[in-house]
C-alpha cells in the first residue's frame, strides 16, 4: 500500500518552510493592519452559486463540489477568496457607507492546477478596497502589493499594467457580439496575430486594424504608440490617461513599469485597470490584482472595488531559505527544578527544548543549554 502518497499537485509544507511561511504571512497581515485593512476569515465551503459568478467557466471548473446533506444543495470548496470578501462587503457590512478595507489569508483548493507545477492548494493572501472609484484607491492597492513583496525581501520588481477599458472601447464601438468578443479575448491574450487576422475579417475599419495592432502594444513605449495608432474614443482615451497617471506616479518612485494592452485576464470580474508583479528568474507573476467594480451586485450591493492577491506557497519557492532558530537545551532530569526559568526564557521568545535521550546539539537544534551554576539557572554554550 502506498498510502503515504499524496494526490497530484498536493504537497506538505515541512518544518523549516512552514515556519518561514507563517512568519511571512504574519508580516504581511501586520502590514495590512497598519494600513487600516481589517482581517476577515470567510469559510472554506459555501454554496456554489455564491462562489462562482454566472458564466465564469474557468472558476467553475476549478471549484471542487460536494453535496450538502443538510440543505440538499451543492457546495463548493473555495477556489478564490475574493468573491467571498466581496460578499462580506456587499451584505454583512452592507450598512457601512464609504470606504471599507478588508484583508484575508487562507487556503483555497483547485480541482485543476493552474499549471503543471502549480499547487492545487494555494495559500491566498490579499487585500481589497471597496467604495472608492478614484485612481488613488488603485494606487494605494498597488503600493500595498509592492510593500507586501518587500516584507519578504523581494525588491527587484517589474509592475505590469493593463486596462480592460481599451479592449472594450474598441469592441463596443465596433458593435461586436458576445461570442465574438470571447474568441478575441483568448487570441489577444496569446498575442496570436495570425489567428486574430482570420477572426477579424468581418470587423469594420478602423476597429479591425486597431484590434490587430493591440498585440504589438506592449513595453515601456506602449502608451505613445497606442495614442498614435488607435482610434480616438472617449472610453479608450480615459483608460490610457489612467494608465499614464498610474505609471508616471510609480516611475517617480523608481518602480519598473511595463504596459501591455493585451493583458486581459479575469474578464469575468475585472472591469478596468489590471496589474501584476514579475520578478527576475520567475516564469509567472508573483502577485496580481485590479479593479473589479460591481462584483458585489449579485449579493445586493454594487460597489467600486480594487484589490490584489498572491499565493504565498508559490512565493515561498523563490524566497531564500532561512535556517531555523537555535534553541536552548534543558536536560529532562532538570526539568522540574528549572520550569520557571525555562518559561521565562520562552516568554522572551527563546526555544527551550527538554532533552530526554541525551541527544547531540545538532539533533536538538540547540546551541545553548540551561544549567544550574553558582546557585542559579544559567544559559551557557552547548556543543
Amino acid at each position: 500500500m502506498r498510502n503515504w502518497l499524496l494526490p497530484e499537485n498536493i504537497a506538505d509544507i515541512l518544518p523549516a518552510s512552514a515556519r518561514q511561511l507563517e512568519t511571512a504571512k504574519a508580516g504581511m497581515l501586520e502590514l495590512f493592519r497598519t494600513h487600516g485593512y481589517e482581517l476577515v476569515c470567510p469559510p472554506l465551503i459555501e454554496y456554489v452559486e455564491s462562489l462562482v459568478s454566472d458564466g465564469d467557466a474557468a472558476l467553475d471548473l476549478k471549484t471542487f463540489k460536494l453535496d450538502d446533506q443538510l440543505s440538499g444543495r451543492q457546495l463548493g470548496l473555495r477556489a478564490d477568496i475574493t468573491p467571498q470578501v466581496a460578499r462580506i462587503d456587499a451584505h454583512l457590512l452592507g450598512s457601512r457607507e464609504g470606504v471599507t478595507r478588508l484583508c484575508y489569508a487562507g487556503s483555497v483548493v483547485h480541482s485543476r492546477p493552474d499549471s503543471l507545477t502549480a499547487s492545487r492548494e494555494p495559500l491566498q493572501i490579499g487585500a481589497e478596497l471597496y467604495g472608492c472609484a478614484e485612481t488613488g484607491a488603485d494606487l494605494e492597492i498597488i503600493h500595498l502589493m509592492l510593500a507586501t513583496l518587500r516584507t519578504v525581501g523581494i525588491n527587484q520588481l517589474t509592475l505590469d499594467l493593463g486596462h480592460l477599458g481599451v479592449f472594450y472601447a474598441l469592441v463596443n464601438a465596433a458593435g461586436l457580439e458576445k461570442k465574438h468578443i470571447a474568441n478575441l479575448l483568448q487570441l489577444l491574450q496569446a498575442k496570436d496575430v495570425a489567428s486574430l487576422r482570420e477572426e477579424l475579417t468581418c470587423v469594420a475599419e478602423p476597429y479591425r486594424s486597431a484590434l490587430l495592432r493591440l498585440p504589438e502594444l506592449f513595453g515601456p513605449d506602449c502608451l505613445r504608440l497606442a495614442r498614435q495608432h488607435l482610434p480616438t474614443l472617449p472610453a479608450l482615451e480615459q483608460a490610457l490617461a489612467q494608465l499614464e497617471q498610474i505609471g508616471q506616479s510609480l516611475e517617480q518612485e523608481h518602480v519598473q513599469v511595463y504596459y501591455d494592452l493585451t493583458e486581459l485576464r479575469g474578464t469575468h470580474y475585472h472591469t478596468g485597470l489590471i496589474f501584476a508583479v514579475y520578478a527576475e528568474g520567475w516564469a509567472s507573476e508573483l502577485a496580481r490584482g485590479g479593479r473589479y467594480d460591481n462584483v458585489g451586485r449579485k449579493f445586493g450591493r454594487a460597489r467600486p472595488a480594487t484589490g490584489f492577491s498572491l499565493d504565498l506557497r508559490d512565493l515561498l519557492r523563490i524566497l531564500p531559505k532561512t535556517s531555523p532558530q537555535k534553541g536552548i537545551r534543558l536536560a529532562a532530569t532538570d526539568h522540574a527544578a528549572a520550569t520557571s526559568s525555562a518559561n521565562r526564557l520562552r516568554a522572551e521568545g527563546e526555544i527551550v527544548v527538554i532533552d530526554y535521550l541525551n541527544e547531540s546539539a545538532a539533533a536538538l537544534n540547540c546551541d545553548r543549554q540551561l544549567v544550574f551554576r553558582d546557585g542559579d539557572w544559567q544559559v551557557v554554550p552547548f556543543h
Partner: protein
C-alpha cells in the same frame, strides 16, 4: 542570457535565415553534434534542442525565453501561458483527414455517425469532427499513422501532409483539409516583460525576416 528552444530537422533548417536576420549564428550543427545546448556567435544567446512537441512546455515554464513551434503542436498543447506573436511562415504543411483508397468517407461522416480515427493530434481531430457533428473514437498513436486504416485499427487518420508521398505509397487518399500549419514564434510571458529590451529587437528582426522571405 537569452535561450531559444528549437527542434531538429526542418524547423531548425528553415529557422536559420531568421536567426541570421537577428544576427544569431549557431556555432554547431545539431544534426552532427550530440549536444542539446548549442552556443551561438553571441555570448548571451544559446539554443536548446528539444522535441517539437516539447517546445511549448519549455517556453511556458521559462526554461527557454523563446521557441519555435508548429501550429499543430500549439493547438495540442493548449498554448496556456504563452505568447505566439508571429507566424514565421516556415515548415508549412496541411492537417488532413485521410482514408484508405476506396473508403466511402462522405457516407461515413453523415450527421450522427461514429468513426474511429487514429492520430497524433487528438485535440485537433476531436474539434474537427465535433464541428461536423460526428462522434469519433480517437486512437492516439505516436507514429506511422498511415498503417492504422490498412490493418483495420481505424477508419480514418488525421495527420500532417506536406507532399502526400507517404499517403500515396500506402494507398491512402486525403479527403478533407482541416488546417494550414506553419511554425510560430512563441514567447514566455514573464520573459517578454522582464527582458523586453533584449527580446523586442529579436522579435522585430524575425518579423522583418519573415517579410523578406515571403517576398522571395
Amino acid at each position: 542570457m537569452l535561450t531559444i528552444a528549437l527542434s531538429k530537422g526542418r524547423i531548425f533548417d528553415e529557422t536559420l535565415p531568421l536567426l541570421a536576420a537577428a544576427g544569431i549564428v549557431p556555432t554547431e550543427d545539431p544534426e552532427s553534434s550530440r549536444k542539446l545546448i548549442i552556443e551561438t556567435n553571441l555570448p548571451d544567446v544559446r539554443l536548446i534542442i528539444v522535441r517539437a512537441s516539447d517546445v511549448p512546455t519549455y517556453v511556458q515554464y521559462g526554461a527557454a525565453d523563446l521557441g519555435i513551434a508548429g501550429r499543430d503542436v500549439l493547438i495540442e498543447h493548449g498554448g496556456a501561458g504563452l505568447y505566439q506573436p508571429l507566424d514565421l511562415e516556415i515548415a508549412r504543411c496541411r492537417m488532413m483527414v485521410a482514408v484508405k483508397n476506396g473508403f466511402d468517407y462522405d457516407s461515413a461522416v453523415q450527421q450522427g455517425a461514429r468513426l474511429r480515427v487514429a492520430t497524433k493530434y487528438p485535440q485537433i481531430a476531436r474539434e474537427h469532427f465535433a464541428r461536423k457533428g460526428v462522434h469519433v473514437d480517437v486512437i492516439k498513436l505516436y507514429g506511422s499513422m498511415e498503417l492504422a486504416p490498412l490493418v483495420g485499427l481505424a477508419d480514418a487518420i488525421v495527420d500532417l501532409v506536406s507532399t502526400g508521398n507517404t499517403l500515396r505509397a500506402n494507398d491512402l487518399v486525403a479527403v478533407e483539409h482541416i488546417l494550414d500549419i506553419s511554425s510560430r514564434l512563441v514567447v514566455n510571458q514573464a520573459a517578454l516583460k522582464l527582458k523586453y529590451a533584449t527580446l523586442r529587437p529579436v522579435m522585430d528582426a524575425f518579423a522583418a525576416g519573415v517579410k523578406i522571405e515571403s517576398q522571395n
